[in-house]
């Protein structure tokens, strides 16, 4: 058997000199530009351009099918004396406040329940997500039917089954009934998001903290107030901000159920802007209503910015 010889022929992998394209792609500035391009491109095309166009339109008298000219603050001036616009502002704030409070109250309660060891937990969690999965317009049609003046199941139960009332309720025909009905529909749709997000937050709290508190003598209310509430606050602030933003800019549910009626009583700023701008043809005025939402949204975002600023106990180096 012949001896094995090694490395008699010196060999090294061939390294061709890099070509022009390879060198270009190796340069860091070019690489950064190329990597950012898709994201920045999408943002500019679908976010910045429509927003900028909307703001520009708010200062013109553009109609559908006719380009407009710059008119300064004229659109905002006419909105200032417009009762329908102020009605929409009132209802938007009212709708957002009431719906958010209800969504958080019920959502937190649901999350706390689901955080306990209940049988069939994962099935219940899946069911809870249902209202969120159903397309908005589909659930809007369902609610429209539930709120129907003649065929409403609620009226049927109250009048024909329980006999508590003698007349059917006109849910969508009178302003306050319609306002509350829409809030109820929005709460129904919004609870899953709040409940599931808060449940995720609750699950990050170590069970041994509750055991320690139990041994320290805390009652269940004290455990909630001293352990759960402060530890849940960071995630609660995020969820609250998102929920407020989504509710404030809600459009689909209201437009599908009432279209702002009766007598403009359920117009949200978003639905009114659409109503004036597209079916009404007054693009400039519709844009002005939409732009008036911006201060409210900035306020909500600033709130989140400060509320989300890391709390003192979250700061500092993690020594683990």
């Amino acid at each position: 058997m012949s001896e094995v010889t090694t490395a008699e022929v010196p060999w090294s992998p061939k390294r061709a000199a890099p070509g022009a394209i390879a060198r270009l792609l190796d340069s860091k500035p070019v690489l950064i530009f190329l990597c950012l391009l898709p994201a920045v491109g999408l943002l500019l095309t679908f976010l910045t351009y429509p927003l900028g166009l909307g703001i520009w339109l708010a200062f013109t008298d553009t109609h559908v099918g006719r380009g407009g000219i710059f008119v300064g603050l004229e659109n905002f001036e006419s909105l200032w004396y417009d009762n329908v616009f102020w009605g929409a502002v009132f209802y938007t704030v009212f709708y957002t406040t009431v719906a958010t409070v209800l969504k958080f109250g019920l959502g937190l309660w649901l999350a706390l329940l689901l955080n306990e060891n209940v049988p069939l937990k994962s099935l219940i969690r899946a069911i809870i997500l249902m209202p969120w999965i159903v397309p908005t317009v589909l659930s809007a049609i369902t609610f429209w039917w539930i709120y129907d003046a003649q065929f409403s199941i609620i009226s049927y139960v109250l009048v024909d089954v329980l006999g508590w009332r003698t007349t059917y309720i006109d849910f969508l025909g009178t302003p306050w009934h319609a306002r509350w009905s829409l809030i109820a529909a929005n709460v129904w749709r919004g609870i899953p998001f709040v409940a599931i997000s808060l449940l995720a937050g609750l699950q990050t709290i170590s069970p041994s903290l509750y055991e320690a508190a139990l041994l320290d003598g805390a009652s269940s209310w004290q455990r909630f107030r001293k352990i759960t509430a402060p530890l849940l606050m960071p995630i609660l602030a995020v969820v609250l901000t998102f929920s407020v933003l989504f509710t404030f800019t809600d459009f689909q549910l209201v437009y599908a159920i009432t279209r702002g009626g009766p007598i403009n009583s359920t117009h949200l700023m978003a639905t009114l802007a659409f109503q004036r701008g597209i079916p009404g043809g007054q693009l400039g005025e519709g844009a002005a209503i939409a732009v008036s939402m911006i201060p409210f949204l900035i306020f909500a975002t600033l709130f989140s910015y400060f509320a989300l600023a890391r709390r003192k106990w979250q700061q500092g180096d993690d020594n683990e």
């Binding site: 041994s208 508190a213 041994l215 320290d216 805390a218 979250q314 700061q315 020594n319």
Partner: protein, 355 residues
């Protein structure tokens, strides 16, 4: 301060029995360590004393009062958790004061107790820090501080040192023992580390599979293990256990060939015949020219002693010698067990045969 009595305590989770009737007396002021491999039920027993798990059968009494149906907060106990369970949103001071605040103690008392605890544990300079900003050992101390501000009747520790590195573990071991000597509070301490058990305990309870294997002082367990499990569990490096038979007043270990059996002397006469297990601790083997020849497999010098793993017939033997061993792998070494310190167990029942 109080004694803890555990009477035939049983626990099952959904029909699966975890503890099969535990009996244990912990005297007032005693440091009792529950030790055993994972899954032996030691933590479950501790949590039952704390009231975090309910009791499926039997009785637990603290200070003479049965606490089976007493909620945890009324048992007057304090517990240190494995992960410390410090409240992350409270400072060290607030963590320690939490239980007193809940009990609506006067401000002066809260102040006095937290400063006393922080003085004992050397936490004075850290009172305004959050748990996140502390090192592992400091967190451990805060967890103990949270326990001692309340002057509980019993301290419970659930593997408190397992998250620390080796050096800190030795240091905190000393600190916990020192704390116990100063406060003299009845302590129940759970660990899977037999060294921790040996160094800290007044009384060790060795558990396995939901049963108590042996209860005794550390040296009782070391010198007179009641059965094979305790013999193998207590002591590091572990006791050598050789399988063979008692014959003619000695222990006969089968060799590689029928004629090469090796006979070890026994500390006392034992009836012939039954298969038995001969136990000898590595540190009870001596180097001796007239000893039994063994073949060296591994030599591990630690400086203070030399650990030698060797082959004897079909068995492996570990010896720890104070002398330096210059022999190499494959060499023959002559060793001699100290007959007075040998142990003999029944192979069938695992119980100790010698006294």
């Amino acid at each position: 301060m109080a004694a803890v009595e555990i009477r035939d305590v049983r626990k099952s989770f959904g029909g699966t029995p975890i503890l099969h009737g535990i009996d244990l007396d912990i005297a007032d002021g005693e440091f009792c360590v529950l030790v055993g491999p994972s899954g032996c039920g030691k933590s479950t027993l501790l949590r039952m004393i704390a009231g975090l798990e309910n009791i499926s059968g039997g009785e637990i009494a603290i200070g003479g009062k049965v606490v089976n149906n007493v909620p945890p907060k009324d048992r007057d106990i304090a517990m240190v958790f494995q992960n410390y369970a410090l409240y992350p949103h409270m400072t060290v001071r607030e963590n320690m004061a939490f239980s007193l605040r809940l009990a609506k103690a006067p401000k002066a008392v809260v102040e006095a107790e937290t400063s006393r605890a922080s003085r004992i544990l050397g936490l004075d300079t850290l009172l305004d820090r959050y748990p996140r900003q502390l090192s592992g050992g400091q967190r451990q101390r805060v967890a103990m501080g949270r326990a001692i501000v309340r002057h509980p009747q019993v301290f419970l520790f659930d593997e408190p040192l397992s998250n620390l590195d080796a050096k800190l573990r030795v240091q905190m071991r000393g600190e916990i023992k020192d704390l116990h000597q100063r406060l003299r509070t009845t302590t129940v301490y759970v660990t899977h580390d037999q060294i921790e058990a040996m160094t800290m305990a007044d009384k060790i309870v060795v558990m396995q599979g939901g049963r108590v294997e042996q209860i005794g002082t550390p040296l009782e367990l070391y010198d007179h293990p009641a059965n094979l499990f305790v013999a193998g569990f207590i002591g590091s490096p572990a006791m050598n256990l050789l399988r063979g038979q008692v014959q003619g007043g000695g222990f006969r270990l089968p060799g590689t060939s029928p004629t090469s059996d090796i006979v070890f002397p026994l500390p006392e006469p034992v009836a012939d015949g039954k298969p038995a297990v001969y136990g000898i601790r590595p540190e009870h083997l001596r180097l001796s020219d007239s000893g039994i020849p063994v073949t060296i497999q591994l030599v591990e010098p630690t400086g203070s002693e030399t650990m030698v793993t060797a082959r004897l017939g079909n068995a492996t033997l570990v010896g720890a010698f104070r002398e330096r061993v210059s022999a190499k792998v494959g060499d023959t070494l002559r060793i001699m067990p100290d007959p007075a310190l040998a142990h003999l167990f029944s192979e069938e029942t695992g119980m100790r045969l010698t006294s």
